[in-house]
Subunit: 333 residues, 2 copies
């Protein structure tokens, strides 16, 4: 049995990759720029060079059991990245196949939130849990759902888009997906900043946030102001947490998870966010589920989590992905 | 291998049970009154007598591989019926254990909607599907969710309460569960009748439904009027279908099922209901899922379906349920 796996996390800006051992130690990691390459083949060539030199530097070239990849719109069944909104490549990219050709080891691929859920189940706070939901709070809201110890992929490999559950059926905010009222439009870092701009516009009370040019306000600014006791900033967290808690109560009616686990920058807001979420969950929970589902924070170090999660998938990678049919390779620069 | 299983469907009024063979033929069936017995032990004794005489009449006494039970609030993990709202017994009834003691064969129990999902997967339109959602439209709205070929029970055995997903976060109708805005308050047979009363009250246009005493209107009346071309009645189906379709689009974002399958009286309303559901699903669906999830009607004969579904669980029943601790038997007449 080879002792290592490689985890690759493809983000809009950076691609981070690392060599991971069976206990979840990141032996070494590095990164390349994702956006530099209009042609995915050039990107794979660059990744191959960078990863190979990392493997050589750590005497790990022939010690890799598999590669796991987390990528936006990554499809576990097809091994393809399909129409990713924030990556330079369009269409259906047979990424697992391309990486397998480059490295000659099994490759498994899924979306970034699913990879985070696998990481949490393998190395984090979800160890031993068979039913939980991972919610990633970043620029968007992602999710990975585990039922009966298995990730929920659905019939097409795309299940678990809880950021795009519509939580405001009428008069909801426009979402990047083209619809309106999605959870993501309210509860992502971007959503919190939008709430700040809305609150500042329709209200007249004083706030530290009024010192910042309104279009530049970030969720971090709202957090900083709230920590200093700013009333309006605290109410923004209250508003955000209430929407999240209501949505979570609905999620529980679906899969009755042991825990909902939050991950990502916004999840570090502590009780400012956790308290209103818990209260709204409890208030909106069907009696039979009341008080049963824990609300937890990820235990993984954020800098390692994405690579760890993807790497955990590397242990499962068994089959060599089937070569894609030629018409599925649609590369539009 | 014994050639038969027994399926038992416990409803608020009747308990229907049948002997079923491996191909899903209901060899024989019968029923007793559920509500007659304040003490569950008397009920089990009556059920034992009635089922034994059915087994004897069909030379099946020693040919039963297992018993499957579908019951409101039935818990697969514990084998208990827990606080059923429409049954005469309160608390946590160790029903699988009681039946096992009475018949000496393995007993498995789940809620009625889960039993319907298993029946559909074993004998109906979901044969061969690994990911689907069963929605039962009756007095209430129930659901059974199948992911990766397995029923979703959740960590506590109560997952799949989609009738109690809140679809109207503000100003929603009161629901029997004590909260407001639940799918069930709009899309059950009772919900359709409530919509009719609301429409008749706030509108002034003519309708055949105005000939019926308003408190006596049923969903069947609305259906009959709509079939005769009554405009208001057709708009009630439009309204109901829109709420259902929007909810279904959210369910798809969760588990990306191959199909959503409707079962129960209201599901027989045909295009009156199916058309607005399909349109609202499509309009509210996240792009990646658009056009992928089929909306289907159950293929099982309604009179047989509940027994068939429960019986399918009988084949799986392997373990003898653990005897419950004494304090879990709480019988309050």
């Amino acid at each position: 049995m080879k002792p290592y796996v490689v985890g690759i996390d493809i983000g809009g800006t950076n691609t981070v990759f690392g060599i991971v051992d069976a206990r979840g130690n990141v032996i070494a990691s590095s990164s390349i720029k994702t956006g530099k390459f209009a042609d995915v083949n050039d990107y794979v060539a660059d990744l191959k060079a960078a990863l190979t030199s990392l493997l050589e530097a750590h005497d790990a070239v022939d010690k890799i059991a598999g590669i796991g990849v987390g990528a936006p719109n990554g499809n576990y069944f097809s091994g393809c990245i399909e129409n990713p909104p924030n990556l330079p490549w369009k269409g259906k990219i047979p990424f697992a196949h391309l990486l397998h050709e480059a490295f000659g080891v099994p490759v498994a691929l899924t979306n970034d939130a699913n990879a985070a859920a696998i990481g949490e189940m393998t190395y984090g706070v979800a160890r031993g849990m068979k039913d939980f939901i991972m919610i990633t709070l970043g620029t968007g809201v992602g999710s990975g759902i585990v039922v009966n110890g298995q990730l929920v992929y659905g019939h097409d490999g795309f299940a678990g888009e809880l950021g795009h559950v519509i939580v405001k059926p009428s008069n909801g905010r426009m979402c990047g997906c083209g619809r309106s009222g999605c959870l993501e439009a309210y509860c992502s870092a971007t959503g919190v900043a939008r709430t700040a701009r809305e609150f500042l516009e329709i209200r007249t009370d004083a706030s530290r946030l009024r010192d910042i040019p309104v279009e530049e306000i970030t969720s971090k600014d709202v957090y900083d102001a709230a920590v200093l006791g700013d009333k309006l900033a605290k109410e923004i967290f209250q508003y955000t947490g209430e929407i999240m808690g209501r949505a979570f109560a609905n999620f529980v009616a679906f899969s009755s998870p042991e825990a909902i686990i939050l991950f990502g920058g916004l999840a570090r807001s502590g009780e400012l966010l956790m308290k209103p979420i818990k209260e709204a969950m409890d208030r909106n929970m069907l009696n039979v589920f009341k008080g049963k589902t824990k609300l937890l924070l990820s235990e993984l170090k954020e800098s390692d989590a994405a690579v760890l999660g993807a790497s955990a998938l590397g242990w499962e990678a068994r089959q060599i992905p089937a070569p894609p049919s030629s018409q599925s390779i649609v590369l539009e620069a």
